[in-house]
Amino acid sequence: MDLKELYQDIILEHGRNPRNFGRCEGFNHEAKGHNPLCGDQVQVYLKLNEKKNVEKLTFEGSGCAISMASTSIMTELVEGKTFDVAKNIIDEFLKMIKIGSEIKTKDLTEDQKTKIMSLSGVKKYPMRVKCATLSWHTLVSALDGKKIEVNTEKVD
């Protein structure tokens, strides 16, 4: 297996310089995620407007290159989307990582699709899948306004 499939330039770059890092102003949803196996933590801050569109999406946390890049890319792709579109993108991402499905949504530009697909190499590394999916599960929790912390050992 070629490590470059996993550690693509785009992942290394987002891992080093994560976008939308920090707590955004005026957030009205937040959720915490935790991976008890490695101790990684992520906190997602979300501002939904009155139409339930994702106006702002930021995060705080620490973790490996895969988890930082995955979270950074997630915030870029989901910001500005409607609630339903956001949910659909998350769904497609999780299916891509777990069963290798293609990204079919028309709500992402080709450029954005390239970004999200840069993470598809993770599915060949079963022990690293949770690194990539933790923040996405946490975002679901934030969108749904759930109060409990996301725990990678308790989600699929």
């Binding site: 297996m1 490590l3 330039d9 101790g39 490996c64 290159a65 590394y125 690293r128 690194c131």
Partner: protein
Amino acid sequence: MNIENIKSQFPIFSKKINGKPLVYLDSSNSSQKPLNVINRLDEFYKNEFSNIGRSIHSLSVNATNKFDETRMNIKKFINANSKEEIIFTKNATESINLVAATFGQQNIEKGDEILITELEHHSNYVPWHYLRESKGAVIKFAPINDDGDIIIREFEKLITPKTKIIAITHLSNVTGTIVPVKEIIDIAHKKNIPVLVDGCQSAPHIKIDVKDLDCDFYAISCHKVYGPTGVGILYAKKEWLEKLPPYIGGGGMINEVTKEKISYAQLPEKYEAGTMPTAEVVAFNESINFMQSIGIENLMKHEQELTNYALEKMQAMNSVKLIGNPKNKAGVISFTIKGIHPHDIATILDEDGVAIRAGHHCCQILHEKLKLNATARVSFGVYNTKEDIDILCKAIKNCRKVFELK
């Protein structure tokens, strides 16, 4: 000692991992198994299998004798007084749970103190936490310094008239610190406090003499000592095992059962309820034979040389930060690399066939103290060589290449 000969006794090293020869540096997690142990398991299941102790037929008599031989050999190996002091459990975790539960039931009341250290593995913290929850006990953590050594003076200060038991590791699975347990046991015994030693990491690497240490309890996991999974050992002074209540109830641990009352079996059966991992215990005898064929002094010398060699080479790499610098260090080296998370290090090393561990190594208290979420860890077994360390160091350099760091 011919180390190549030792490596050749382990069939796994003829396998390739990701197309590369296996460099196994995760022995603190679990050791690989020599052929004599694997063969013994195989032979026992093929030709000798029976449950022990219950039947009169020949197979059962033989199995019972072989099971007992391992117990006798362990008694000699750790220099216990009698075979009644050797209890078979599932692993060191169960051994510690056994002591926490039975000792706690009899001796811990609300406000009583249990003294452990910041070095402890979760398995020497969580069982005591149960007593905090169920009995209102207080757990105190003896601090370590930046080198990863327990500060003995601070340790002494934490002992109070309410301290009922002390539980300490013999060897840290993160910093490799060899803890001066004899000194701590002396301090504790002067105040009549019993001491449990978590010997999970020490048993494969240093000479264990429970009589010399004078510890009250000593816990071992056989799978880390070149043995099969599913077997652990609890050494305990006979007076404790006689005094404490039984732990798991069931067949084999009783003397007489009536509708009104139950009396319990003699030692060691009192603590061995239900069918034991018979074949695994029998095969563990071969693990002890393997260690003795090398000689524990030779093994220690070899692993010390490896550790010094690895420390020297790793220290020379500017990007690598070693965790802890204890006075006496065994072959466990935790480290971080600037700009690369330990999980990424482990994935990249694995591509080169180098198996290490990344994470908190079941020591979250220690990692909190170190202000780190995770570390990468290499740990040695007797089969490792200097060449393994050269491959490791090359693989570490490759991490920076993959991450395009200068």
